[in-house]
């Protein structure tokens, strides 16, 4: 009998507690929503507007304390030159931190390659940054919980907890991660979390004179980025990996890797 009493009391207590918690929840839904607004950060890149000046890369390096001389970067700009015969030549010297100032393409060990002007069918720049995927492969593979996604969709790295195994670098299909040359932990683009969470713009988008880069709230139908994604033909990178990236591209070509 004692046991039954105990169960009964417990049931009453649990039911009572849940009712009171539920009651609290129903007091003011508006207040709750205001405290936790619908927010999911997304990014829009217009490849037509990008001129390959690399100001975004320069700004990013300063903003995020990645030494200018270090050959790693949180964001970079790629150049694609598609020839009339269908061949594609691509390069990205030093992540384009100095912009593109020559017609020669840097093919690393294969040297500098020049594509004659008359052979060029189309050529364009593609800025790249962390896609802050909805199901980030890099977060899934972190063995210690040092990288994670915030409620508003930004993927961050805890510099104090990262053991530096490099598994996230291997796991990212976009190659956005690297070892921080000074901190010696995994590092990547944060969507300038310190700026956007105070209502500011990302350093790269702010530095872009042509508006090729924009950050916005994908959950807000009035947000310019959300509207552009809704009304224009946009693409994402490497959707075959199932990571559901949140960086959208206008003017994405099939040649873009």
């Amino acid at each position: 009998m004692k046991r039954r009493d105990f169960l009964k009391n417990t049931a009453v207590f649990v039911a009572g507690a849940s009712v009171s918690v539920a009651a609290l929840d129903f007091i003011d839904p508006k207040e709750l929503l205001a405290a936790n607004p619908e927010l999911k950060w997304g990014f829009l890149v217009d490849t037509y507007k990008c001129v390959g000046c690399g100001f975004c890369v320069k700004a990013c390096k300063t903003e995020s304390d990645i030494p200018f001389e270090a050959n790693v970067t949180r964001t970079w700009v790629e150049r694609y030159v598609i020839k009339r015969d269908g061949d594609v030549v691509m390069d990205c010297p030093k992540g384009a931190r100095d912009g593109y100032t020559t017609k020669l393409l840097d093919e690393n060990r294969s040297g500098m390659v020049e594509v004659p002007d008359e052979e060029i069918a189309q050529a364009f720049f593609v800025p790249k940054l962390c896609n802050h995927c909805t199901t980030p492969a890099c977060v899934q593979v972190c063995p210690v919980g040092a990288t994670y996604q915030t409620a508003d969709g930004v993927v961050l790295v805890d510099w104090t907890w990262c053991i530096g195994c490099g598994y996230c670098i291997m796991g990212c299909p976009y190659g956005v991660r690297f070892f921080h040359p000074v901190e010696r932990v995994a590092d990547k683009c944060t969507f300038c979390y310190h700026r956007i969470s105070k209502g500011g713009n990302t350093a790269c988008a702010q530095a872009c004179p042509f508006g090729a880069r924009q950050i916005g709230n994908l959950k807000d139908p009035n947000d310019p980025v959300a509207q552009a994604i809704m009304t224009q033909r946009v693409g994402i990178l490497r959707d075959e990996y199932g990571t559901k990236p949140n960086v959208y591209y206008i003017g994405l070509n099939k040649e873009v890797r």
Binding site: I163, G164, Y167, Y174, G175
Partner: protein
């Protein structure tokens, strides 16, 4: 202005050679230490499986090498962890894997599986050597003129005996049962320890070469192969050393008290043990080699046949950049040649040992081709990377991720074994041990 005074090293830049279109952050981040990591865990798992063949399946013929394999497997254990620690950018935070494991990551299991496995091997050794430990305590306590080593050993034995001094037949019988249980339990755990090392690679969806469900199985098979091969080679070498010493009337790698009548074991007896064990073991090597080879070739054929988007880049790596490493070193010298050597009739000890050494090399090349080969192409599939192993280190990083780090990892198990052998004589031949 904020000045950049802090020391700056871009990890991977020192040993990565890029060609064509490679993304700016791409480097060979996982280098020699990660090649050695599955190699060493493979050796641990393989050596343990070999010892279990005797303990669980009662393969009497493997009796002598089984005890050796068990102790050697224990000596290899800390070394399986060593490459990981050397590779971590923040080695002092390695403990985080145990503290906040994130089980959606294959690496997170390492701490727990590794410790479980270490406990099993340690417990098995404890049961195998318990009688010897207790006898040694009695012997050393009574002995008057202890050497310095013996004075050191006595307290060690007292601690590891855990106070269990009962060596009646009944107690020894329960030891037997415990050994059998632990050896049986150890096989799946050893396979898991290594299979999940394969899973670490096989589950990286961003890597076209790594991503295959066959990876864990291939890793387990080649692990058993390399573990057995290493046991054959090292057993042969240690026995050679003992034979060399026996000719000079000395008894090496065995405590003096255990040597029969205080003098060395006859050379002839050592030779017959050596021959017998090495030849029998190589039969098992052959069986596991067939399985490993079949899977690897199946994987290769499948990739070529299905030829998905990544195949163009993979084909360049497999058939052009790494042709020598894959087809000549790994398959030719490391697989088919020893395969033939072991199959041809009239197997001699020396031939078995040479074949086993080639197998060891072949499995090492397989690890290399998987780990380094998997980073030999860019995520863009339009560029390639090459790992040039730092030979002469110019800082701690190029030491760890170069030849120096590799040699330290390879030498360490033998050093550990040397000391471990003082406590648990691996070449003990008395009939009562298991």
């Amino acid at each position: 202005m904020v000045e950049q005074v802090a020391q700056m090293v871009v990890h991977g830049e020192a040993w990565t050679i890029k060609d064509l279109f490679v993304l700016p952050n791409e480097y060979v981040y996982w280098s020699i230490q990660i090649v050695l990591y599955p190699y060493m865990t493979g050796l641990v798992a393989g050596a343990f499986v070999l010892s279990s063949l005797y303990h669980v399946f009662n393969v009497e013929k493997l009796k002598e090498i089984a005890r050796y394999a068990l102790v050697f497997s224990f000596a290899l254990l800390p070394v399986a962890m060593m490459p990981l620690m050397l590779h971590l950018m923040q080695p002092f935070r390695g403990i985080n894997v145990l503290m906040t494991p994130h089980f959606t990551s294959a690496i997170s299991a390492f701490g727990i599986v590794f410790m479980t496995y270490a406990f099993i091997v340690a417990a098995e050794i404890w049961f195998v050597y318990r009688k010897f430990i207790v006898e040694s305590i009695y012997r050393l306590t009574e002995k008057q003129d202890c050497t310095r080593l013996e004075r050191l050993l006595l307290p060690i034995y007292k601690v590891i005996s855990l106070g269990a001094m009962d060596i009646s037949d009944k107690a020894l019988n329960s030891d037997h049962k415990a050994i059998k249980f632990l050896a049986a339990l150890g096989i799946p755990v050893a396979c898991f320890l290594h299979g999940y090392a394969g899973f670490i690679f096989g589950s990286v969806k961003a890597n076209a070469l790594w991503m295959t469900p066959l990876m864990p199985v291939i890793f387990i098979c080649s692990a058993v192969v390399s573990g057995i091969a290493l046991c054959i080679v090292s057993y042969y070498l240690f026995m050679e050393i003992r034979k060399w010493a026996a000719k000079r009337g000395k008894n090496w790698l065995l405590p003096d008290a255990l040597a029969q009548g205080g003098t060395a074991i006859p050379v002839e007896q050592l030779r017959s043990i050596q021959e017998h064990e090495v030849k029998i073991t190589s039969k098992y090597l052959l069986i596991f080699m067939t399985a490993a080879l079949t899977l690897e070739i199946l994987d290769m054929i499948f990739r070529g046949y299905t030829a998905v988007k990544s195949w163009d880049a993979l084909r360049m790596v497999i058939y052009e950049h790494d042709f020598m490493k894959i087809f000549v070193y790994q398959y030719g010298i490391g697989n088919f040649l020893p395969f033939l050597m072991l199959l041809l009739p009239g197997l001699t000890t020396r031939r078995a040992v040479i074949a086993s050494s080639l197998v060891l090399f072949g499995v090492f090349m397989m690890r290399w081709n998987v780990v380094i080969g998997g980073q030999a192409f860019s995520l863009t599939f339009a560029g390639f990377m090459e790992y040039s192993m730092p030979i002469i280190p110019h800082d701690i990083e190029t030491f760890k991720e170069g030849l120096g780090g590799m040699l330290s990892v390879i030498v360490t198990p033998f050093i550990i074994f040397y000391f471990l052998n003082m406590i648990f004589p691996a070449f003990m031949t008395d009939n009562e041990s298991h």
